[in-house]
Amino acid sequence: MSQLVQAASSLHELPETALVVALVGQPNVGKSSVFNDLTGQAQYVSNWPGKTSEPKSGTCDAGGRQVQVVDLPGAYSLSANSSEERLVRDFLIHQQPDVVALIVNATALERNLYLLAELLALPLKIVIGLNMVDVAAQQGIVVEPHVLEAALGLPVIPLNAARSHGVAELIQKAACVAADPQQDAPNRPEIRADHRSVLQALQYLITPYVPEPYPVDWTALKLLEGDRQITEMVQGQLGEQWPPVHAILMQHEDAILAIAGGRYEWIGRMVRAAVTQPRAGQLTLTDRIDRVATHPLGGMLILLGILGVLFWLTYALGTPLQTWLDVHLVQAGSVWAQGVLQGAPAWLTGLVVNGIIAGVGTVLTLLPVLLIFFAALGILEDLGYMARAAYVMDRFMHLMGLHGKSFLPLFLGFGCNVPAVMGARSIESPKARLITILVTPLVPCTARLAVLATLAPIFFREQALLVTWGLVSLNLLVLTGVGIILHEGFLGGEHKAFIMEMPLYQLPNLHSIGVSLWQRLVDFMKMAGTIILVVSVLLWALSTFPGGTIQTSLLGLVGQKLEPLGRIMGLDWQMLVALVTSFVRKENTIPTLAVLYGVGTQGAGLAEVLSSRLTQPAALAFLAVQMLFIPCMATLATIRQETKSWRWTVLSVGLLLAISLAMGIAIYQGAALVGWE
């Protein structure tokens, strides 16, 4: 709802004369390309349902008239089956745009026109953009726009949104239609005769009670369809007058099936002359690829293969680049800054070198890995493969209370949590997206695994591998548990029916991938320049002042005060402080411990001190906490950016803090109970 309000308020800032055109369409119709093309605003274009989950708007010009284009999320119908559908219809009813530009995909025209059948029940002016005619032709489907236009009685403009053909004509047409006081009466789907009298009876009963701006006939139709939201609204308005309405509805419980059937019958008549279908039984390229890509075993192998290549690329290309940046950006930058700041007060050098460069610089070294992940995600999405990966993994993800589409982002989390959180954008249901984002930090990223790999052998020697494996499994177990609890618990355990469109495979549009890659990088850089800069400096200040060293800093002092908490887990205050400094970058744990225990940063001294200070149960508790702890600040900043909510960000921190500390305590105390020391 807040998104709607936002969209509404931005509309108010426009000059009164600006024309409002709402872009509407089902998922996978190329609607976002049309929007980008019109407004010049690079926005993420997707082949995976639901990329545009909040209304974005931009302005363009149509024959000298300013047009405000609002990009509404992809919706299959106006039936409030998903939050996107609710958003679209709320916008259309409450904001009443001057014209609706409906984008349809010629490769699945019948299903796409179902949305038109729904739109025609509302008092709207409509123009249709017929997209992907060329792709349809490759499939042997020939669509004639003029014939369709004549049948529907609505303007139909052929588009090739990927090459921006026809987009200008579409908006010109929309402006014409808006100027026309009465659009030619379009063809409308008819309602079955017996339902027509039912609708009349319903209208008679509800007319005085339907609140503005809901059209009465539309409200009656949605009641008959059994739409939950409208039913609740009308029931609330009617109060004691509800029972007679309810009685009518009970008699026609499955009316929706007849209504939907009627719409498709109408669609069938509309497209009969305009569309030539391919010979039946022809195997398309998509069918052939899907035989392997969605095969229970073959699909899994392909997915594993793709992930293998992706991680190989990361390690072969991303990690060396990251190291290179670390040396030439962070380290060289530090040396350079120290040189420039010679003679400056020590705090200034500290601020620049240990605060800004160490924090922001380190986060920037993540760029190559992010670039690889985002490029790969973009290509896979554009290809149409993402829906297949989700299909193959859905069963397993369901066991974790998650959606199949959560798999890829979460898996990316093993490389780095940042792209994992950003990758969750492609999950259409806001709830499922939020759950995915909240559990992502429980996927151990490379940096955390590196710390584990360094510390485990110090404490556990031969059993180090077993401990490592056990702790990674623990993370995944906790992830599953949290996923199920979040899903069943306070996010309302609605089990969404698993129905998902499998788009046609297509060659990726490299231009649009490049655009979205650039957008994500800009987002990330902005974050590094703002929130991460502030947090880095803050954390540096906390670990420096007032005493000048970390032992005598505020952080150190608080750590010492918290020693009793540490004791419950068998930990020194030094280890608590190391957990906090790992917030800047997870690898920080080790140098912090070295400084606090007064040994050189070279591992050897540290190993001796650590193994003498900590018993094995305490070490296990520490490693478990470290693995489950609050993610690094880059991840947290991304969570804030993606959820657009401080509440969820803070909740995420609280959740992970509680889980990790509880686990540490449970391990240490549990070990004491069974007499392991």
């Binding site: 490769t107 019948e110 069963r395």
Partner: protein, 96 residues
């Protein structure tokens, strides 16, 4: 062989007599059928129907391995659906 359509998995289901009705999840892949009825709650019926599964619609399964989700072709588009959802869609096999 691995990636061939597993038509034989459900051949049994076809020998019940002419034009028998069966839930979509029991329809063997590659066999043309027609939707007869959709059952379930309002929300589910609405979602399934608006995607094209209405009585009279022709449907063919592109994939049904007897377990896991299936892929259906209906009204010119490909839809993946869970077995539970498919169970709510009653179809009758069309004579070839």
């Amino acid at each position: 062989m691995l990636f061939k359509h597993h038509r034989h998995h459900h051949d049994r289901a076809l020998h019940h007599g002419p034009a028998q009705e069966l839930p979509l999840n029991q329809l063997p892949s590659g066999v043309a059928a027609q939707v007869v009825q959709v059952n379930g709650g309002h929300g589910l019926i609405n979602r399934i129907a608006s995607l094209g599964f209405t009585p009279g619609a022709e449907v063919t399964l592109l994939q049904n391995y007897g377990h896991g989700p299936l892929i259906a072709s209906v009204r010119g588009s490909r839809l993946a659906l869970g077995r539970g959802e498919a169970e709510h869609i009653l179809v009758k096999v069309l004579e070839a």
